[in-house]
Subunit: 474 residues, 2 copies
């Protein structure tokens, strides 16, 4: 008789969502807390998710014409002060290197919290003529922002990200490029790979990036109804260009300041994945993201079973499925089954001696749930379709959650109540306004973004009919 996979030891979501999250991160071996407060160790299974995210995003970033580069980690402290809003926004979060090579430094260096300043120092050298524009650069890097209330993946003192930085000849080109990244890189990746429903909007002036003239955001609803900011794309106007003299000789022979954008997405997306798709049994990884889409498990270690799981592995691999064969039969089957469930691998194919006699395997589907015996020779044709169904189901569940838990309201009070009860509220921005927005903060709610009535992103802060989306947020 085969050991049954027991329910994993996670605090149920309904009992304590934050504790469920911490349990899952730990038991699925995604990450540990680091020794310096707020830092984290990303374990191999968690980092594997990040590598897949990087690959998908990187391909889209290159498709949008940007090239990767690398700017230094250490930035002279004086650079940060050149753009007034920028330094005000980041000063409280800085980590400062005061000693290097056994001596006190003449000028302290900050560990980059973001790279607009140092990037502009070099853009101002590289950009000479209109022929050098647009300049489209991205970097994959670590950044440090001292975090007072850390939570692994969501708010960490050090995190990994990509940050794009571009310079353009005109306002319109910069605006369109920020919008293109927002749509073709971020939204496309999140919807079609992460299977996370996102609401695209613009930040209110109070919530903009420090130094930007406009911030586009993608907001997603987590399993507890709170919002998570998934990625942002900023129009920087000429603020940094002015501070760093980033200018070009136009076709007409005049010196002009460039127009700029910056945009980023971070390891926080791993947290979003967990809180969007996780359930009381663990994570559920969307098949298009999963490094392992199907695991073939040998229930027992006899030779015929081991030979068969390897053969099935090869067959599925040939059918284009990313497969892992689990033949570690010195570890009890039940423990391994629970582990794969926790880790959220979409499909398990379990093969024991009895199955072999029947020419069948047990197919366990993590995403819709359920297990059934299937003929081994049908697996290769069955699995690719099942994986596509699973991918679509996760996105549908994410979308339905957001739809069912979002309400239209007309007063700030109602918006606060909707947010407090684990949902989102949509309220006319004209009815709320910056004063109403300021009062939301006292009640733990924020305006996540402004959207147009038709769901598009408004062109200005005060376009008629603009809706504010209000929620509690991570």
């Amino acid at each position: 008789m085969r050991a049954m996979a027991k329910a994993p030891v996670l605090t149920p979501q309904a009992d304590d969502f934050p504790r469920w999250y911490q349990d899952l991160i730990s038991k699925a071996e995604l990450a540990d807390n680091g020794p310096v407060r707020g830092t984290m160790v990303i374990r191999p299974y968690g980092y594997g998710l990040w590598e897949r995210m990087q690959r998908e995003l990187d391909a889209r970033i290159k498709e949008a014409g940007a090239q990767n580069a690398y700017f230094p980690l250490l930035i002279p402290q004086s650079y940060l002060t050149r753009e007034a809003e920028h330094v005000e926004g980041f000063a409280p979060e800085l980590a400062v290197v005061t000693h290097g090579g056994g001596k006190e430094l003449e000028e302290p260096a900050v560990v980059r919290p973001t790279s607009e300043t140092i990037v502009n120092e070099y853009f101002s050298k590289w950009v000479q003529s209109y022929r050098d524009l647009p300049l489209l650069v991205n970097q994959w890097a670590n950044v440090v922002r001292w975090e007072m209330r850390p939570r692994v993946f969501l708010r960490t003192t050090e995190f990994l990200w990509q940050e794009g930085h571009t310079a353009h000849a005109t306002y319109e080109e910069a605006r369109d490029y920020a919008a293109r990244i927002h749509r073709d890189v971020y939204a496309d990746f999140m919807v079609n790979v992460l299977a996370v429903d996102v609401t695209a909007g613009r930040k209110t002036p109070a919530e903009r990036f420090a130094g930007a003239i406009n911030t586009l955001t993608l907001e997603a609803m987590m399993g507890d109804g709170k919002a998570l900011q998934m990625a942002t794309s900023h129009e920087l106007g000429q603020n940094f260009a002015r501070a760093f003299h980033t200018q070009y000789l136009s076709k007409e022979g005049t010196q002009e300041l460039v127009w700029q954008t910056s945009w980023g997405s971070t390891t926080r997306m791993i947290g979003a994945l967990v809180m969007s798709h996780g359930d009381d049994h663990g994570l559920r990884v969307p098949p298009r993201l999963a490094a392992v889409q199907a695991v073939v498990l040998a229930v027992k270690g006899d030779d015929a079973v081991l030979a068969e799981v390897r053969r099935i592995g090869d067959t599925l691999r040939a059918a284009g499925v990313r497969v892992h064969v689990d033949d570690r039969t010195d570890i009890p089957f039940g423990r391994r089954a629970v582990d794969w469930e926790l880790k959220g691998v979409p499909i398990r194919v379990e093969v024991g001696p009895r199955d072999l006699e029947n020419g069948t395997a047990v197919l366990v589907r993590r995403i819709p749930g359920g297990k059934e015996p299937v003929r081994i020779d049908a697996l290769a044709s069955l699995l690719p379709a099942s994986l596509e169904e699973d991918q679509a189901l996760l996105l549908r569940q994410s979308r339905e959650r957001r739809q069912s838990r979002t309400s239209d309201v007309t007063t700030a009070e109602e918006a606060v109540e909707a947010a407090a009860s684990g949902g989102w509220a949509r309220i006319p921005w004209a009815a709320l306004g910056p004063e109403g927005e300021a009062r939301l903060a006292e009640r733990a709610a924020t305006v996540r973004c402004l959207v147009a009535e038709d769901g598009s992103v408004p062109d200005t802060d005060d376009a008629p009919g603009t809706i504010a989306v209000v929620a509690r947020a991570y």
Copy 2:
């Protein structure tokens, strides 16, 4: 009449090799110096080389069974002091964060110079039983080592690298894994992708990594006859395991310390590429590494030419060549040709109106040199073979340089002279010994590695017949 590609403005190697190197790095747009002393900005073309290196190495690392993970940048200062030799080796190079979030930290954090200490803090938690071994982890990261004599790519205060960290049940397994990485990851990549001849050996006790019981190294001869350490793989014995209590329950039920390895390769390889294959016209990129193997240039901007270069691009792409089409005809052709030559793209296909009439293009081969007209319809069959020839030629040139400039000597004095005149010396280690080695340093030479007479890596420091390779080094 077509503009001819003029000789680029590089200081000739023979006049001043270090200046030639700096000129090339700058004019080929590989990197700039950063604002904090010793740091660097890796520009898109230089970073593209690094991305290709990463991809090739990462595939080999995964093939060797290691998985990627990420450990924090900031390490509590106290961790560094736990392994006595380790702290002695790294203390003079540390960058120290004393302030975070606007306050002085209770315990300063160092910016990682390498991660053995923090890795062991976590390995000691993750490893419980023999079933958890071997534990094979790698990370791609930045590290900071305060550099007194910086030179871009070769010695920089911040550099990018991969660092592998593993734990094994026995001494033999650890020793064999360090050797496997050295051979199947590093040497294989350097010879077969970078086309750089490498000498594999072990470091003398004086040159070992701080905290290791054995360091394996790959040394390459640069264009000026000096040596560059390309990558190292260390046996750490139980030194860090003892300091961090990294132990496991054996099959026999006893607690045992693990045996460990660590191994790294860095952005310095970009410098090695330049100094191995560069010439007075610029860089020469080995085809297997090149992101762009062939560039198809439109000499003039007429419609027929533009249509044809795009068509040739498609044809070559279909033949498996990594192609870039340069149709920026608003920039003079001569300037673009010089730029591609500086950047070392292996093959240029130049198409002008006259060529088009004849059904020919001018084929310029950067690696062997030379240009000739070829029929356009022959390009797709010609180029893949040319690229393989070019790859082999670079390796042959690298090997012949090392062979022709290495001499067998019997005294320390002769070794120093050989090194001073831009070559390597091979001297019996028994004749030199640690005392002789110490005296080399006064004459700017070092023992790069110990090798066996048959070219293999000796198993011990004092194996009979061991040869010391002596050179000046970067």
